[in-house]
């Protein structure tokens, strides 16, 4: 009885779903976005270590500081990093006095003694302030587009740092034939919808003046700021890998010892024939 019922139910589902499979499909409209969209280039990041495997490797402090400089001088015109506190900048190699000085450059909203809104200088405990007070203000200022907060951007995009680097260096004036690009948007094949509202932020070599002698090219800026944003997304990255290497060494030893005792325990059962 169960098997007869199962047969009936089975036939119902099978015939139904195969009937669906036999239905003709509307010819999919050729999707030019898909054709034009490009995948990011893989970059050998310092924090990915040898072989770009992500097992070893630490952040390049100099690169993080340069990336922070690019962020401050370029990106921060529109994008916040609101999940980062000034005190976190110690990870980049800044000392306490430098962090205090950086924080003091920012005006934070506050209340005065009468409870009226005012501003005060930032302290290391503060987070980086928002650029716009709310989404509506951001969209109003940006032609309807919303510049996302960059604190998590590396983890929130497929391809991570590679993607951000390719996006920043991927703008092109050669819009392919047949592709419509509204005047307010820019052509960038690394962006999901190919047309992006963000104007090319890194437009010329020498745009940001480095003081450590690193090449002042758009490509270098893009790499540095991507590395900085990787740190912003995952500030515990180095700690995580160190712990991981130690944990795995411990586990390999433990498993090895376990295997030896397993052999010993089973020796009398698995006597060689």
């Amino acid at each position: 009885m169960i098997r007869l019922g199962a047969l009936a139910v089975g036939l119902l589902f099978v015939v139904n779903v195969l009937w669906g499979a036999l239905q003709p499909r509307e010819a999919a409209a050729p999707d030019m976005t898909k054709e034009l969209h490009k995948h990011p280039h893989a970059i050998a990041w310092a924090h990915n270590g040898p072989g770009n495997l992500g097992i070893f490797g630490t952040f390049d402090r100099g690169q993080l500081q340069r990336g922070f400089q690019v962020y401050k001088e370029v990106c921060s015109a529109c994008h916040s990093i609101h999940r980062i506190a000034f005190r976190d900048l110690a990870d980049l190699g800044y000392n306490e006095a430098q962090i205090k000085a950086i924080a003091a450059e920012y005006e934070m909203p506050a209340l005065d003694n009468n409870g009226e809104p005012t501003t005060r200088k930032g302290t290391p405990a503060d987070k980086f302030p928002l650029i716009y007070p709310n989404e509506q203000a951001a969209r109003a200022a940006q032609n309807g587009a919303l510049p996302p907060d960059l604190s998590l951007i590396i983890k929130a995009r497929e391809g991570g740092a590679d993607y951000v680097h390719s996006l920043l260096t991927g703008y092109s004036d050669n819009v392919p034939k047949g592709w419509t690009k509204p005047d307010t948007l820019y052509y960038n094949p690394y962006f999901r919808s190919v047309n992006i509202a963000m104007p090319p932020p890194l437009s010329a070599d020498g745009q940001v003046a480095y003081t450590d002698g690193s090449p002042q090219t758009v490509d270098q800026y893009a790499k540095d700021v991507s590395a900085f944003l990787t740190w912003a997304s995952e500030p515990k990255l180095e700690n995580r890998k160190e712990t991981g290497v130690a944990a795995i060494i411990f586990l390999i030893i433990m498993t090895g010892l376990g295997y030896m005792s397993y052999r010993k325990v089973w020796a009398d059962v698995k006597k060689p024939a």
Partner: protein
């Protein structure tokens, strides 16, 4: 409850004896996982995954309880509180990555455990209740994992909650009311988040309770084994401790090494980047997908694209998705072959591997956007999924000519190890042990 040759617990100290006469807890553990549980001596590595699943649950509970100390179930700050855990809580990043990766690994381990049961016929008499309790655990796990994923309150959390609860709206007449009741509103919001948090904290302990029943049901007939032949004498078994505690410990070590590799070196590789974007009810992600462990069922859900017999396609999809799991409860009565292990069922073994491939490819389809060729592929595979259990297995189990079974477990072990040179026909599906 056990074999007559099972070792008896003997308290060695006066305190132990005193306690044993009042609350024999040590005796209970001794009989469940200790020397008092005679276990077939031919269990291979696949029999390790039950213990691994138990460990995976314990890891989830321990990390989860600590995470809950820092998490805030409020739509305004839930996402921020998760980032607070990642950035400011001591070791918080490790706890959260262990919990997130741990969910994936829990499912991975349980899937292998289920497939092992399918291959060796562990659902057959007298283990039907054991099998069904396992399926109950699986269903509870799915509910728990889904609600846990929503707690992050990222984009995929929000839209996942919208889509999954939306499944219930396909039911006629009461559907929309059920969805509203589940969500506590018309779309996922604070009421949803709060109840999901409450249930996400509760269900793991329910799972724990059902696991106790599952292990109890296991200990009545004892473990199945790769030959599927019943234990006949003491020569067929070894005490669980120290034999399988030692063996499972090695398996646990290997498991933890792979687990650590994911937690520490690629913690986000199993998740969707979109869930690092805070939930936004006004912006639908272009491609809503559940976590990988739901993909085969998601593919079945989306495989039904045509109205049929006056029932809308969406309702068919929902019915099929739930049926695809519920039909497993009937498996002991669909597969009537008296031979348990597929090692002795050539045709059934072939079909088993076909089914494994179908399930995996269905998973791939479920992770892709709903476009060709994935939809058509998942339709054909869905047809096989149902045909396999509901049509093919019942017929095959009646008609199949099985290979001769060994007289006992010991005989099979001797045949394998005693004359290795002569008997080189060990099936590839059975890992050498």
């Amino acid at each position: 409850m056990s074999f007559p040759w099972a070792k008896q617990y003997q308290p060695t100290s006066a305190v132990g004896k005193w306690m044993d006469e009042r609350l024999p807890l040590t005796r209970f553990v001794f009989n469940a996982l200790g020397p008092g549980y005679p276990t077939p001596k031919n269990l291979n590595a696949f029999y390790n995954f039950g213990v691994l699943a138990g460990v995976a649950l314990v890891i989830q509970i321990i990390t989860g309880v600590v995470l809950a100390m820092h998490y805030a179930a409020n739509t305004g700050i839930a996402f921020d509180s998760v980032e607070h855990i990642m950035r400011d809580v001591n070791g918080g990043w490790m706890l959260r990555y262990m919990h997130a990766v741990g969910a994936s690994f829990f499912f991975g381990v349980v899937y292998i455990h289920i497939f092992r049961g399918l291959y060796y016929g562990s659902y057959k008499p007298p283990r039907e209740v054991l099998w069904m309790l396992g399926l109950v655990i699986f269903l509870l796990m799915m509910a728990t994992a889904f609600m846990g994923y929503v707690l992050v309150w990222g984009q995929m959390s929000f839209w996942g909650a919208q889509v999954i609860t939306g499944l219930f709206s396909a039911l006629p007449v009461v559907g929309t009311s059920i969805q509203t009741w589940l969500l506590g509103g018309f779309s996922p919001d604070n009421a949803t988040l709060n109840r999901f948090f409450s249930l996400h904290y509760l269900l793991p302990f329910v799972i724990f309770g059902v696991i106790i029943l599952h292990v109890w049901a296991l200990h009545i007939p004892g473990s199945n084994n790769p030959t599927g032949v019943d234990v006949k004498s003491e020569a067929d078994t070894v005490p669980f401790h120290p034999y399988y505690t030692a063996k499972d410990f090695v398996g646990l070590g290997v498991y933890l090494i792979i687990f650590s590799a994911f937690v520490f070196f690629m913690p986000n590789s199993l998740g969707e980047p979109d869930n690092y974007i805070p939930a936004n009810p006004l912006s639908t992600p272009p491609h809503i997908v559940p976590e990988w462990y739901f993909w085969p069922f998601y593919a079945i859900l989306r495989a039904f694209t045509t109205d049929f017999l006056g029932v809308p396609a969406k309702l068919w999809g929902v019915l099929a998705m739930f049926s695809s799991i519920l039909l497993l409860f009937l498996l002991p009565w669909l597969d009537t072959s008296p031979v348990r292990s597929n090692n002795y069922r050539p045709l059934s073994r072939l079909l088993f591997w076909v089914f494994v491939v179908v399930a995996v490819v269905l998973g791939v389809c479920g992770g892709k956007p709903a476009e060709e060729p994935w939809v058509r592929l998942s339709q054909v595979l869905t047809a096989y999924y149902f045909a396999h259990f509901l049509i093919i297995l019942p017929i095959v189990s009646k008609l199949e000519k099985t290979k001769p079974l060994p007289g006992s477990i010991s005989e099979a072990v001797l045949a394998k190890y005693g004359s290795k040179a002569a008997g080189g026909a060990a099936p590839a599906a059975q890992p050498a042990e």
